[in-house]
């Protein structure tokens, strides 16, 4: 065989294999094609009474809130002979990366918990099913939940989530340290914050409040200074406004003034150790503090109004039903039963530190006795800044304002420049996303 012949064969073989590769991959991706957008979930009557089924349930509760949900799932399994719920907790990034291909291949969850701001991303890709017919059939509406949370679970006219809880930005303070400095919490506003910080420093607490690159804190402050991440229609990014700059400048001013050390990334540890006396964190810190700092005397309240108006970052964990669950009638009915039951019986979820969304649960004694009851105030809900329903919002967030906050707080970048670039970035990606959805 002469070399020339060999090469010709070689090329033909490569070409053939390449074509095979294309065909194979096209076949592979059929499992995640958006062609099968699920139809709205239709309500089934009553509880599920059919043959035994297993439900796959995914959630992002890998931290201190995991055991609380596990307890609820166990109670459900005990109360239902013919439904077995298998719970898998994944780190949020992992869950969102894998749920779509997994559901497309039929190996994913039937029911899942997603953050409110992720619903649009997966609705657009056909991973989760519209629920408005289901909630109508179950007789659920905004009055059963917190209206602000309820209204936020809608994308393009369809409801995609049933809220489990709501969580907002909170402040924690070390009551003993405050007392020793002659202070009484909670901090109410900016002036009070400054006064408290300086009293604490005089009392020997070098860094009373640690500023970390928390984008949730940024969103809180942005709302308080009168700004928002996007406009009403969610077609334009507005995070680079003066409000945004003011928000970041407050954060960096604390570092410059020495109230906070620079380069900090974990605010909870110093709070537990006595290095910090004030903490800005989500309610998930509550079980963490209870578990790992049992000797610390602390209290919690809504984050103070540092800006010109009330405002707080807010998000919510939502139940979703995946397209996979609707393929089989029994599974669909069992999934409906699970979501409905769990929503009503979500009292053990109080242990996660979050505020249950269900009105009946919040009215109970167990919640009234919980630390986070201090956060469930009407004025908090009315000024809550939820993230809007934008497909791909997490990706956009990571590339825009999350990055800007990190660069300004940790690397000392200029706030106005960083936010300007972030806004420009978010705008571009918003427009690209709209293109891909439309065509």
């Amino acid at each position: 065989m002469s070399p020339a012949n060999g090469r010709a064969h070689h090329v033909t073989r490569r070409g053939f294999l390449g074509a095979f590769g294309v065909a194979a991959l096209a076949g592979c991706s059929a499992s995640v094609a958006a062609a099968d957008r699920p139809a709205p979930v239709r309500p089934r009557r009553g509880e599920y009474t059919g043959p035994a089924v297993t439900l796959q349930f995914w959630n992002p509760f890998t931290g201190g809130d995991g055991p609380a949900m596990a307890e609820i799932v166990e109670a459900f399994n005990a109360a239902h002979d013919n439904i077995r719920v298998v719970m898998t907790s994944l780190v949020a990034d992992d869950l969102y990366a894998k749920v779509m291909p997994a559901v497309g291949a039929g190996e994913g969850p039937d029911v899942a918990i997603m953050h409110l701001d992720q619903l649009a991303t997966f609705a657009a890709r056909g991973t989760i099913a519209p629920l408005e017919e289901l909630t109508d059939g179950l007789g659920l509406d905004g009055t059963d939940f917190i209206p602000a949370v309820w209204d936020s679970g809608v994308y393009e006219g369809h409801r995609y989530g049933i809220p489990l809880d709501v969580f907002t930005m909170a402040q924690y303070w070390a009551t003993d340290t405050f007392g020793a400095a002659g202070l009484e919490g909670p901090v109410r506003d900016r002036g009070h914050f400054d006064a408290a910080a300086s009293s604490l420093r005089n009392a020997g607490v070098t860094h009373p409040f640690w500023v970390t690159p928390s984008w949730q804190l940024f969103v809180t402050l942005l709302a308080q200074f009168g700004g928002s991440l996007y406009d009403e229609a969610a077609t334009a990014a507005t995070m680079g406004s003066d409000a945004g700059v003011a928000a970041l400048e407050w954060m960096t001013s604390l570092i410059e003034a020495g109230v906070s050390p620079s380069g900090a990334t974990d605010p909870r540890l110093p709070f537990k150790n006595g290095g910090a006396a004030m903490l800005a964190d989500l309610p998930a810190a509550i079980p963490d503090l209870q578990l790992t700092a049992p000797d610390l005397a602390w209290d919690v309240a809504p984050f103070p109004q540092i800006g010109t108006r009330p405002g707080t970052f807010a998000n919510s964990h939502n139940f979703v039903l995946t397209g996979q669950s609707q393929a089989d009638d029994d599974v669909a009915h069992a999934a409906q039963t699970f979501v409905e039951w769990t929503s009503r019986n979500s009292e053990p979820w109080i242990a996660s530190g979050n505020t249950p969304a269900r009105a009946t649960v919040r009215a109970g004694e167990a919640f009234a006795a919980a630390p986070q009851a201090a956060l469930a105030k009407p004025e908090v809900f009315s000024s809550a800044a939820f993230l809007p329903q934008i497909p791909g919002s997490r990706e956009i967030a990571a590339n825009s304002y999350e990055r800007a906050v990190s660069e300004v707080v940790l690397s000392g970048a200029d706030a106005a420049e960083a936010l300007d670039f972030a806004q420009h970035t978010a705008q571009e990606q918003l427009e690209e996303m709209h293109e891909l959805l439309d065509g």
């Binding site: 095979f20 590769g21 294309v22 990055r403």
Partner: protein, 316 residues
């Protein structure tokens, strides 16, 4: 008997094997080859082809449209004005910085270690086992270990520095340039043994007579190193440089685990960004284009290394 070409010898096709192997049917060969080649086609050839194919489309996993866009992805990346391209080149820069700082050290330090070990002393074998040991622990253990050691508040490194009266508040894992020192240092500690072991084998192949002759000629230790040792291990040196550069360019675990890609995303490597774009961002087309660019860069760099050594060889 036909003249044997170099190629024939290289593929072992000498007369005897030709005689012996004419006795086997093609089916026998197929039986031996099929297991490997089926997997090879499915998991190596097809992916390479499809990565190229995907890079020529705008493809977001799960969305309806998958239009052909030709070289647009590549154009966008090279034009460098969109966020994705800015982030991509930032991550390539991070990879480049890491490679620039660590590759020379990873080539030189193991060589020094191997030279040290090339003498006879008691416990030499045990010592070789000790400095190679970190390599067998995977990046997950190493990443965790150094994340702990370099923790700003609780890590022993800062504690030790403080005890010695040196500044003890360095944020090794969340600030620059300390972050690069952390990543490069941890990587060296982890893999120095690997290259050192390769060097050691090569050093032991250098004939002692050459050293003796050089000493007789009056050459001191440094001259002996440059005139005897280096040329003697030339092929292995080339190999080590090539694999070290490739390994550095493929770095992912250390920055994911030790610095968590902080501050901001400054220590996010090319692989980290490609993986994030494709698997978390669902952007198959763009991530394929990015991986192609990284791959071609690596092939070019390897080619340059090989050429450089060829030239140096020709000058001898």
């Amino acid at each position: 008997m036909a003249q044997l070409s170099v190629r024939d010898v290289a593929t072992g096709a000498d007369a005897r094997t030709r005689v012996a192997s004419r006795r086997n049917s093609p089916w026998t060969a197929a039986a031996f080859l099929l297991p490997f080649f089926v997997l090879f086609v499915v998991f190596v050839i097809v992916p390479i082809g499809s990565a190229l194919w995907a890079s020529l489309h705008r493809w977001s996993l799960g969305l309806p449209g998958r239009p052909w866009i030709g070289w647009d992805n590549y154009a966008e990346l090279f034009e460098g004005s969109t966020v994705t391209s800015v982030e991509f080149w930032k991550s390539m820069q991070a990879t480049g910085i890491f490679t620039l700082y660590s590759a020379p050290l990873l080539v030189a330090v193991p060589l020094a270690l191997a030279l040290l070990l090339n003498r006879r002393f008691p416990g030499r074998i045990a010592f070789r086992a000790i400095y190679f040991a970190p390599y067998v622990f995977g990046v997950a253990v190493i990443g965790l270990l150094w994340r702990y050691l370099l923790d700003r508040q609780l890590g022993p490194v800062n504690q030790l520095l403080g005890a010695l009266g040196l500044p003890d508040g360095i944020a090794w894992t969340t600030s620059l340039p300390a972050g690069w020192v952390a990543l490069v240092g941890a990587t060296i500690w982890w893999t120095v043994g690997f290259n050192a072991v390769i060097y050691l084998a090569a050093l032991q192949d250098v004939p002692r007579e050459l050293y003796e002759a050089a000493t007789v000629d009056g050459a001191g230790a440094w001259r002996r190193f440059f005139t005897v040792t280096l040329p003697g291990i030339r092929r292995v040196l080339q190999f080590v440089i090539a694999i070290t550069i490739i390994a550095c360019a493929n770095m992912y675990g250390q920055s994911a685990l030790i610095t968590q890609e902080q501050p901001g995303t400054a220590t996010r490597t090319a692989i980290g960004f490609i993986a994030q774009t494709g698997i978390q961002g669902f952007d198959i087309g763009m991530s394929s284009a990015m991986s192609m660019i990284l791959a071609v860069s690596l092939i070019v760099v390897s080619g340059v290394v090989v050429l450089a050594f060829h030239r140096m060889g020709e000058e001898d």
